[in-house]
């Protein structure tokens, strides 16, 4: 396989039908997700928004194949999800980079598991993604030497490198400072335009969701259910501090307050 073929954008449809997930705890069963049905189109950028405990991360983990023992159907391009796979890579809230590898080694980790490439091609691909996230020149840095924002950039490059069809992002920017976060919003939009992946993004920040996604899906907790959907039709690239964007985020937040009631307002 050539590097060029390997870099061709890939995406997938996701279909969830009547997905239920129950966690058994010592204090009885906890319904994390109830009757979730959802279709996500190719190259669509979808945000899951909701207060803590609404099951949005659990749903992301189900799509990742990390959460087993749910009922209902979860399919990627028509194939049922049974285990994790490199067609669906994940970026976590904590960077989860491997400290025993340098930056390049981390980005190469998934690539080395891909057959049909030689090491030179793998390295070329890894360097392409490091450049895409703006980290050229840092390939031999150690993880502990990087700032929080840089670590998340490496994590993004690592998740993109195996060329997944679906990129799953679980509050990836939540632990970063506001300035770094805004930079990353710009970068992520640019990368989404360049790589054309299907992206699922979990956040509790409505404005972040409006800034990034084509569709915002609202969850409510106990039991975790989908309560509303909002299409975001603002032109791209979007500026986080844009007034139209802020106004839309405010409208959605106001609707959320009505839907969720006073005790379940998202932050």
């Amino acid at each position: 396989m050539s590097v060029e073929a390997e870099l061709a954008p890939l995406q997938a449809k996701i279909r969830l039908n009547s997905v239920n997930k129950i966690f058994s705890t010592e204090r009885g069963d906890l319904v994390a997700l109830q009757d979730i049905s959802l279709e996500i189109g190719e190259t669509e950028f979808v945000c899951f928004v909701g207060p803590s405990g609404c099951g949005k991360s659990t749903l992301l983990r189900i799509v990742a194949g990390l959460e087993r023992g749910f009922s209902g159907d979860a399919e990627v391009n028509g194939a049922p999800i049974t285990e994790p796979g490199r067609d669906r890579t994940v970026m976590f809230q904590e960077h989860a980079l491997f400290p025993w590898l340098d930056v390049l080694g981390n980005v190469m980790f998934g690539l080395k598991l891909k057959p049909g490439l030689n090491d030179k091609e793998r390295q070329e691909i890894a360097l392409y993604y490091l450049q895409l996230v703006g980290l050229n020149g840092f390939e031999h840095a150690n993880v502990h030497e990087l700032s929080g924002g840089m670590k998340q950039r490496v994590a993004l490059a690592r998740a993109l490198a195996p060329n997944p069809r679906v990129l799953l992002m679980d509050e990836p920017f939540a632990a970063l400072d506001a300035m770094t976060r805004e930079q990353l919003y710009g970068d992520l939009q640019r990368i989404h335009a360049a790589r054309k992946k299907t992206i699922l993004f979990v956040t509790h920040n409505v404005r972040e969701a409006v800034c990034l996604s084509d569709r915002v899906i609202l969850f409510s907790p106990r039991p975790g259910r989908i309560r509303a959907e909002f299409q975001v039709k603002l032109p791209r690239p979007r500026e986080f501090n844009d007034t139209n964007l802020a106004a839309l985020a405010r409208d959605i937040t106001n609707e959320l307050k009505v839907i969720l009631g006073p005790e379940n307002r998202p932050v």
Binding site: A64, G65, L66, E83, P84, G85, R86, R88, T89, V90, F92, E94, A96, F98, P99, W100, L101, D102, F109, G110, L113, K114, N142, V143, H144, E145, R158, P162, L168
Partner: protein, 255 residues
């Protein structure tokens, strides 16, 4: 260099004081050998080849015993980390036997294996293996589940997951566990060599023991110095590269 001047002066003063005390106090050389006598012994024993021979015998036993201890301890530690049954049985045994000073194995070992190399190795292995099991177990348990999940989403499974993720992720603990195992092995072997007399090779412990029987305290103290030196040098040679790697990559020291 400047930092070395004060320690050098202090050590020189200590040695000088010891030499002076040994010469002028009238205490028998059997009780208090002068450092110069210890030094003379070391030079003579080194020239005659006696020290080198004993050191090689000791290092061979240590190397073999330690290697066996690691080969048994690392997999068993992984087992106790991953299996509840192993943890509740083997893990408890390891915890208990780790507190047993390895010299306590000497009587049993002599009865089972007689005055043989096997008896010697058995004591070293018993001294090493429990510490290694406990450290490995601890190391594997400390791995954030996130590493495993991240690796799985990139397609890592089975043996690849173990060798490329779980083992390297627990490296800081494996290094400190191996280091601890090394220290235990070294202590165990000295105990074994002092207590178990065998004809298949005289190690440093034996030389020390015979020094006592011959009332040759210059020999006893000389060997103590040599044993300290070897323990120190081996520790540096074996573990310093790993610790440097850990500091560089992880940004931490392993101890």
């Amino acid at each position: 260099m400047k930092n070395l001047v004060a320690p050098f002066l202090i050590f020189a003063a200590l040695l000088g004081g010891w030499e002076y005390a040994a010469r002028s106090s009238g205490v028998s050389a059997i009780l208090l050998p002068a450092p110069s006598a210890v030094f003379t012994y070391l030079v003579h024993a080194a020239e005659s080849g006696e020290l080198l021979k004993a050191t090689l015998v000791t290092m061979r036993r240590l190397g073999v015993g330690y290697a066996i201890g690691l080969c048994i301890g690392l997999p068993l530690g992984m087992l106790t980390a991953k299996s509840h049954i192993a943890r509740n049985t083997l893990g408890v045994i390891a915890l208990g036997l780790q507190t047993l000073p390895s010299v306590c194995w000497v009587p049993l070992s002599l009865l089972w294996f007689g005055q043989t190399e096997t008896a010697m190795l058995f004591i070293v292995v018993m001294g090493t293996v429990w510490a290694v099991i406990l450290a490995t177990d601890h190391g594997i348990r400390q791995i954030p589940p996130l590493y495993r999940e991240a690796a799985e989403t990139m397609g890592s499974r089975g043996l690849h997951l173990w060798l490329r993720v779980l083992v390297p992720a627990s490296l800081p603990y494996l290094v400190s566990g191996s280091k601890q195992g090394w220290a235990f092995a070294w202590r165990s072997l000295m105990a074994a060599e002092i207590y178990v007399t065998i004809l298949s090779g005289f190690g440093l412990g034996h030389l020390l023991h015979y020094g006592r029987e011959l009332h040759a305290m210059d020999q006893v103290v000389g060997l103590m110095v040599l044993i300290i030196f070897i323990g120190f040098a081996a520790d540096k040679a074996l573990f310093s590269p790993w610790e440097r790697f850990l500091r560089k990559r992880w940004g931490l020291s392993s101890s």
